[in-house]
Structure formats: structure tokens, C-alpha cells
Symmetry: C2
Subunit: 189 residues, 2 copies
């Protein structure tokens, strides 16, 4: 893998937020799990906010990325193989396809047009907007070309063999501790 | 040029804001001008907020994209040929290289690690962050591959011949109406 560095360390409002980061991490654990896991299991396993994670899963379920299992020891499971879930699908499910560039189409306001801009001035895509849409497409194509499976394989190669046993034990204990059948509402609480 | 459609019509906080749109539009007019123009000239010519535009130009000047001319009929000029100014330079000058993805590096918080995550868990780039950095690089490479000159050529081909005369007349009248030498402060007021 090529060397990758952060473009800047300044903390500003990012395009892809912590919801995407938390959602992807949760999905990676689900990819390695044969048992359903609740959003609370996943949040506590990762030391992140359960209420924050609980808001992400309904979006992932709606997008057909996870499915809820409501039986005894219910929870969420991946709805498809990790290799069939692109990172773009997860981002869009969580962030709602927000545009990279919010074009206000100012080209028709030029003073020489007066109150009525001519047809040529507003026909087709604004040339500046087109530049941004090409950049957005490049970003989205990159996200679409990588799957949850790709990322899971990288993590599998990185972790020592004992780690998957530790994870299985922690999550197994957690699942066993559930005394009764959870309601649908409890899946994400 | 390929067909380009907006990915969504939902209005949400975009990564690249109106400052970038306004800045690029102003630079395109400067690309076609042999006379210096103030940020107020440019704002009024385009029917956009002069105070908003006045905040953009010091950033463009600092980045070496425009230079201020302080003589009689002073204003801003492009500091380089439009073909030598990439769209990425303009975006970075105005937006300050804000990251696409704000990674909070949650990978070290996993419950099985206890208080001390092992070295392998936090070494190198997080696999999820790396996916996002690749997507960001694709976006930035796209913006870097397009110049102000490219966009100016598209607009030149689109506008009828009379339009450039109308623009020259409007801006020429505006410049002539300046009765005295403006101070540096007036360049952007």
C-alpha cells in the first residue's frame, strides 16, 4: 500500500463525519461475527457512544447493508457478504449522499445581463460546477472500488491469531449474558 | 464533455462552500481582464456580496494566486497565467486544506485491549482512514488536473462574441469612474 499522510491536522468540519467512522468499524466487527450483535454490544466493545451508534444502524438496515435478527440472542447481522458491500454504499447510507460542492449557480446574476440572463449563460452545467462534479465523481469512484471485505482482510492480516479468539470470547460472553429474548426496540438500545 | 448530473438535491453542509464558488468566478473575470479590478468591482459585476468577496481575496493573495496593484486604478490582477493556476490551489487557498474525513482513531479503544492497546493495533494508518485518504487523493488529483485556464476556455467558447465587449465596457466604465488613487484598504472595500 502506498504511503498515505494526512493532508492537514487542522480540525474543521469534515465532509465524512464520525458517523461514517463508527459505522464502518461496527460493520467490520459484524463481518467477523457469525452471531447477531446489538448496537450496544458493538458500541461497548469499541468504547464508543451507544446512543450515537444506535442512530446509525437503522440507516444501515434501511440501505440493506445489515438485517435485524429478532430471535433469542437477536441483534444485527450483515445482510450481504462483506465483499459485496462497497464503502460508498455505507457512506451514502449514513451521510445521505451529501454533495461535495453546493453550487449556488451565480452565473446568471452578472450585471451586464440585467434582470434577464440570456439562455447561453445558464444552459448546461456551470463550468465551475462541472469541475467540482468531476472531482466528486473521482472521490465516489474510489469509495465504490473498495469493499468492506477489502478492509476486513487488511485488518485480519494485521492482528495476531490470538486477537480473534479474544474478540470471540468477549462477544460470546456478552451474548450469553442476555437472559431473555430482546424486543426489536432493545436491538439498538 | 461527459454528462454530469448532481448527485443529490438535498441542501446540506457541503465540503466546498460558496467561498470557493465566488472565488473561482472572480478569478475567471480577472483571467479575462488586463486592468486591475477591486473585489467590490468583481462582486457588483456578479451580483454577489461585496463583503463576502472582500474576505476571499486576501487568502488568494497570500497563496500567490492574485497580486494587488496599488497605483492609480489599482485592484487585483492574477499573479500567474490562468493555465498555471490549478483549481486545487484555489480551493486550498480559500478552504485551508480541510480534510475529507475527520478520523478519531477509535481503533485503540477496543474493550479487549483494556487500558493499553497493543502496538499492532495502533501502528500505521487505520485501514478505514486509509480508504478515506485514497478517496480524498482521487478528489484532489482531479482538482489538481484542471486549471483556471481550462475553465476560462470553456466559458469563452460558450459566450457569444458580443459578451466580451459588454464585459469590457461595464468594467471599463467602472474603472474610469474611480476619481483618485485608492489606498490598499480600498482595494477590497
Amino acid at each position: 500500500m502506498q504511503a498515505i499522510t494526512r493532508t492537514d491536522t487542522v480540525r474543521v468540519m469534515a465532509h465524512l463525519t464520525a458517523s461514517v467512522e463508527y459505522g464502518l468499524h461496527c460493520l467490520l466487527w459484524l463481518a467477523g461475527s457469525t452471531a447477531p450483535l446489538s448496537s450496544r454490544d458493538l458500541a461497548e466493545f469499541q468504547g464508543i457512544s451507544p446512543s450515537f451508534v444506535a442512530k446509525i444502524f437503522p440507516k444501515l438496515e434501511k440501505a440493506g447493508i445489515v438485517r435485524a435478527s429478532e430471535g433469542v440472542r437477536g441483534g444485527y447481522l450483515l445482510a450481504r457478504m462483506p465483499e459485496d458491500i462497497s464503502i460508498l454504499e455505507v457512506v451514502d447510507a449514513i451521510e445521505g449522499k451529501k454533495p461535495l460542492f453546493d453550487c449556488q449557480d451565480i452565473r446568471g446574476r452578472c450585471a451586464v445581463f440585467g434582470d434577464r440572463p440570456p439562455g447561453w449563460a445558464t444552459a448546461g452545467a456551470c463550468a465551475i460546477h462541472a469541475v467540482m462534479l468531476r472531482a466528486e465523481k473521482a472521490m465516489r469512484d474510489s469509495l465504490a472500488s473498495q469493499t468492506l471485505g477489502d478492509v476486513a482482510h487488511i485488518l485480519d492480516r494485521k492482528a495476531p491469531p490470538d486477537f480473534s479468539n479474544d474478540v470471540r470470547d468477549w462477544l460470546g460472553d456478552r451474548i450469553k449474558s442476555r437472559a431473555r429474548k430482546p424486543s426489536r426496540r432493545e436491538l439498538s438500545s
